[in-house]
Amino acid sequence: MVQLMNRTDNETKATVSPMEAPVREAAKPVVYDTKQLNLWYGSHHALKNIDLPIRENEVTAIIGPSGCGKSTYIKTLNRMVELVDGVRTSGEILYRGRNIFDAKYSVEELRTRVGMVFQKPNPFPKSIYDNIAYGPRIHGIKNKKILDEIVEQSLRGAAIWDEVKDRLNTNAYSLSGGQQQRICIARALAIEPDVILMDEPTSALDPISTLKVEELVQELKENYSIIIVTHNMQQAARISDKTAFFLNGEVIEFDDTDKIFQNPADQRTEDYISGRFG
């Protein structure tokens, strides 16, 4: 190019492609470190040599076709998978540095640190108030004033306080699906968790409710670490910081979400996210 360029030498030298030399922020602390995790349902090898460091205050999306092990994986993170008969595991999952499979690790303790939201909203057939106060009550909180405060804070945290504050005593079943799902998120927040696991939390919701939950996830990551299983690729692209692509029980690729959706390293990831198979 012959034309004069309004550039100083420094700027010219700095012309390094952003893709070649990504400026990465300092990595956040690891909340969950999965090391060489294997899981079998009887003879079926459902998770194979999974290594996955999940970081604090990030949204990590788990994507992959049906049967790839993504739900099994997040159910392993709070040891819910143990409810299935004939499950065996090897390897370890360190939560805040402690192996959750350790015989001395109490499942109850783990689950007060790790909340979970499921595919279908599953509020209890109780009032909105009692749904949220349920967990704290189990943990021995009886003081009405403290419970009131927890209920309000949790509902605010789940961005549904304004919609339900005048009818806290009505049955949670009377709410719409999208509202019920946010009640379930509020219920998870009420136990003051560190991590929130979400298993396809919007697959049963209409588009507007879906966007509300997605917006909420963005807000929640300031205070929580979130792991979300989703079938909705656009959702993973919109709301997550990191994406792990699972296929046949293996992690094929785990990277920054931008990288996964703009220029994945593995052809199988590319084929899946661009809808070539699934």
């Binding site: 012959v2 492609s17 661009s274």
Partner: protein, 223 residues
């Protein structure tokens, strides 16, 4: 994972259609450039006027490509390579539209010179014209075949064009001092060399975009 290779058949045929439109645009731009250079060399004013008129076809293709790109983004929510193909088509289309305009500018300069005899037989400008047309043809192949080695080659060829341009301008300035009566003609010839040099830059942009499309990496070859 089930292989559902043809699950996006419609999308794939639309991507092919987009590619076809763009290749037609590159081809047209190259032809317009060829015609504008022939018109100059033979001082064929009818051909120069035809170049001006035929530009509408390139502009129409540019509009069609813009529409198609918007439609594909809204309907198909493309990601990764698909998305890069679509974005790159949009960008290359802009470069081709500009090359079309530069061919028109060359034709206009030819019309300005009119039938005034040329100060001397022109040699270097047609050579430069041939060189940028060869670049464009290679760019056509590089895009069609997604051949990044060819795309890198193009960038080197542009350096030769830039050098030729520098030499030509110095030479034309010398003529201007010695032949003040020919200031108009020499100025038009200087403009034409400038337009050809710009064509080289647009082809280099296209080469960068082809590399981005294939590799997902941005490079600046225009330095």
């Amino acid at each position: 994972m089930r292989n559902m290779g043809n699950v996006r058949k419609t999308f794939e045929s639309e991507l092919e259609e987009l590619k076809g439109k763009l290749l037609r645009m590159v081809d047209l731009a190259e032809r317009q450039l060829g015609d504008s250079m022939s018109a100059l060399q033979t001082q064929n004013l009818t051909l120069a006027n035809a170049v001006k008129q035929n530009d509408a076809e390139i502009n129409a293709l540019d509009d069609e490509i813009n529409q198609k790109v918007i439609q594909l983004i809204t309907q198909q929510q493309p990601v990764a390579t698909d998305l890069r193909k679509i974005i790159v088509a949009l960008k290359i289309s802009t470069d081709m539209e500009r090359i079309g305009d530069l061919a028109v500018n060359i034709a206009k300069s030819t019309l300005h010179i009119g039938d005034e005899p040329l100060i001397k037989p022109i040699v270097d400008i047609p050579k430069m014209g041939d060189a940028v047309r060869v670049m464009l043809r290679k760019a056509f192949d590089a895009y069609d075949l997604e051949d990044i080695d060819l795309a890198f080659e193009l960038a080197k060829e542009d350096d030769a064009i830039d050098e030729a341009y520098g030499r030509l301008i110095r030479e034309l300035m010398g003529y201007m001092h010695r032949n003040p009566d020919y200031v108009n003609q020499i100025t038009q010839l200087a403009f034409i060399s400038r337009h050809l040099e710009r064509v080289g830059d647009h082809v280099t942009n296209m080469a960068e975009n082809i590399i981005f499309m294939v590799k997902g990496k941005t490079l600046n070859l225009n330095e």
